[in-house]
């Protein structure tokens, strides 16, 4: 089952007029992977997903998915894929149930099987009580869950989700990811793009795409490990003053604010933690907490992008 090469992208290039949106991308995704696609705005995430879904032509390169060559059998491969567009794209005037049925028909799911699957999907998406509500009247999170349910009705082996949780509240977001986790556990191959770095952390592998190229591709942990330097977390009663004091110190690479907490990026934590503590004390600041913390995905993301920018 596992470790089969399910999606294979070779030298994929897509050019729009004078803009290279995808620049010879090579990527292999195993069956059953939950693959996260992250990258700055406009890096090519949506273009890549749309291309995989057969919505955009290929300028150069090859894509093989579930045994199909994309450019040869664009239509046939669509049955193997569940694609969820970034913008809400269900029919607002149709009810939850009608939307589900519509996509069921589109993907040739026999009526009998639709009947069997729909109750499951509804409860899965926690929409059982809203079957007759028009999609336009659903809250943002519910819309997204409905959209996901619509793409799942034909039980596609591949799921392509383009920023499925943007604009969704944390409760719904967590529910959404519970669903994705369940699908992942059932063996569906999922590619999901997201601007939320905590979501990237939930993936089995993360690809960082930048300027149309995959610049990093590894497990979340390994990516986090690629941050140069270490983070020291400091909590004081006056973060603004603390920041002013620490900023000019030697060896401080960056300070990030998290409410009252400061995350200080240094080349070596052991070397600096004592000095920071001393300096703060000298300035009569009460330290509630000071310790070394692991970099978050978000920090890794920023640091990696900056590194590339500097290299250019």
């Amino acid at each position: 089952m596992t470790n089969k090469e399910f999606i294979q992208i070779t030298d994929l290039t897509r050019v729009f007029k004078d803009n290279i949106a995808l620049d010879s991308i090579n990527l292999t995704i195993q069956e059953g992977e939950l693959f996260g696609l992250v990258g700055p705005d406009g890096a090519g995430k949506t273009t890549l997903l749309r291309t995989l879904a057969g919505l955009l032509g290929i300028t150069n390169g090859e894509v093989r998915q579930a045994g199909y060559e994309l450019h040869k059998s664009t239509e046939a491969v669509k049955s193997e894929i569940g694609y969820m567009a970034q913008e809400f794209s269900l029919y607002g005037k149709l009810s939850v149930l009608e939307n589900l049925r519509f996509f069921g028909e589109m993907y040739d799911v026999p009526a009998q099987i639709q009947k069997e699957r729909i109750p499951g999907l509804l409860s899965f998406a926690q929409l059982t009580d809203f079957t007759d509500r028009r999609a336009a009247k659903l809250s943002g999170g519910m819309k997204k869950k409905l959209a996901l349910a619509c793409t799942l009705l034909h039980q596609p082996p591949i799921l392509l989700l383009d920023e499925p949780t943007t604009g969704v509240d944390p409760v719904s977001r967590r529910e959404f990811w519970t669903i994705l986790n369940d699908l992942h556990l059932e063996g569906t191959t999922i590619i999901v793009s997201t601007p939320y770095m905590d979501e990237a952390d939930r993936c089995s592998r993360v690809g960082l795409i930048y300027q149309g190229k995959i610049v990093e591709c590894d497990s979340p942990e390994k990516i986090r490990g690629k941050v140069d330097g270490e983070f020291i977390k400091v909590v004081t009663h006056d973060w603004q003053k603390a920041r002013e004091i620490i900023q000019p110190l030697k060896g401080i690479l960056e300070i990030q604010t998290y409410g009252e907490a400061l995350h200080i990026l240094v080349d070596s934590a052991a070397k600096h933690i004592g000095r920071i503590r001393k300096t703060l004390k000298r300035n009569e600041l009460d330290i509630t907490e000071i310790r070394i913390v692991k970099p978050r995905m978000e920090e890794a993301f920023i640091s990696l992008i900056r590194k590339i920018d500097q290299a250019n």
């Binding site: 057969g54 955009l56 032509g57 794209s89 269900l90 149709l94 996509f103 028909e105």
Partner: protein, 377 residues
């Protein structure tokens, strides 16, 4: 082609129309309502045309003449003018459409058989009413003159009949009194049934504007399925009007329907298919509703009015316009509707036009499908 895909799109589209009450009502009612309004406005029988009289003669004969001129419902005496200036003023202000100037020698000339001292002035800005006035004044004047002259003519040994020797026997088939509404109602059908084409163009453009197209394109539906599925609900909406309009035509406007209704439904479906395919092409090319709308006006509505032979006979159009009219489904359908309503002929005679509709429909749908890429860019 998968019937299930087709049906799903149709059902979705129907649900969409039905849910939006305002739009639903408008889509369904517009054709019939516009037809009613237009029939009323176009099939008005000209009457009560206001005229003025300027009588320089002021004789018993001229007064008798004036009495006869204004006796009917066709011409109404608006004013007895006292001078040419007054006539002029009335014409410029549009109060009257024609004026009759009775010369000072009107009665003496007439009695001496010297001629008719009569001048008619018409408002050339509205030749419909102007021409009407001329015709009617002319008939009356001729009859009046003949009457006055009859005695003298008889005295000179000429029979009155010999003044009009040819016995012109006019028969107007299908519409004995040439009432405009009888042929305008069937003719207008081809215009008002084109309205659903606008809706088709708009709904397709709307899917683009609201990015529902992206999701739709990601499904395995084929282009033809999608296009036909979008079209069929509006064909159905059109067919509702095809059923309602003949009933109104017969009951309200007294227009005969002599043909076979089932055949008429079939032929109307062919027309709707061809006409809506035109809307489809527009929808495929125009990615915004406003542009789709603008183009529909330009290529569907106005040519539909002027180039399909409803108001203006195709035979009289310039060569190029006649060519263009052959590509308009409305041209062929106008012939069909008139044929089915009035002479009551059927498919056995009308098949060439039916075939034209099918060819146009297929060609338009084909073009739409050809240019409708299942890609976003």
């Amino acid at each position: 082609m998968s019937i299930r895909h087709l049906w799903a799109v149709i059902r979705k589209e129907l649900q969409h129309i039905l849910r939006d009450r305002g739009t639903f009502l408008l889509v369904l009612v517009t054709p019939t309502l516009v037809l009613l309004l237009m029939t009323y406005s176009l099939a008005v029988e000209i009457q009560h045309v206001p005229i003025a009289l300027l009588d320089y003669d002021q004789s018993a004969t001229s007064r008798e003449f004036i009495y006869q001129i204004t006796a009917g419902d066709d011409l109404d005496l608006y004013q007895n003018a006292a001078s040419m200036e007054e006539v002029e003023d009335l014409l410029i202000k549009g109060k009257i459409k024609a004026a009759i100037i009775i010369g000072p020698e009107f009665s003496s000339d007439l009695l001496a058989m010297r001629g008719l001292s009569l001048q008619i002035i018409i408002d050339g800005t509205e030749p419909e009413t102007g021409g009407f006035a001329v015709d009617h004044i002319g008939w009356r004047a001729e009859a009046f003159a003949n009457e006055v002259l009859a005695e003298q003519i008889l005295a000179s040994g000429i029979s009155l009949d010999s003044l009009e020797p040819i016995d012109l026997r006019i028969r107007s088939w299908y519409n004995p009194s040439l009432e405009p509404r009888v042929d305008i109602v069937p003719g207008l059908l081809s215009i008002v049934l084109g309205f659903p084409a606008f809706s088709v163009a708009l709904t397709l453009a709307r899917e683009h504007e609201h990015s529902t197209m992206e999701q739709l394109l990601a499904t395995p539906i084929s282009r033809i399925e999608l296009l036909l599925g979008k079209m069929i609900p509006y064909i159905l909406a059109g067919l509702v009007n095809v059923i309602v309009i003949p009933i109104i035509a017969m009951a309200w406007f007294n227009v005969p329907f002599n043909g076979n209704f089932i055949e008429f439904l079939l032929l109307s479906t062919l027309f709707l298919f061809a006409e809506l395919s035109m809307g489809m092409i527009i929808g495929v090319f125009m990615k915004s509703q406003s542009a789709a709308l603008a183009l529909s006006f330009l290529v569907v509505l106005f040519p539909g009015f002027f180039l399909t032979g409803i108001f203006f006979p195709i035979a009289a159009l310039p060569e190029m316009a006649r060519m263009e009219s052959m590509f308009l489904p409305g041209t062929h359908y106008a012939i069909i509707t008139r044929g089915v309503f009035l002479p009551g002929i059927g498919i056995d005679t009308l098949w060439p036009y039916a075939i034209m509709l099918v060819i146009l429909g297929l060609a338009f749908t084909g073009t739409a499908a050809l240019f409708f890429k299942k890609k976003l860019a």
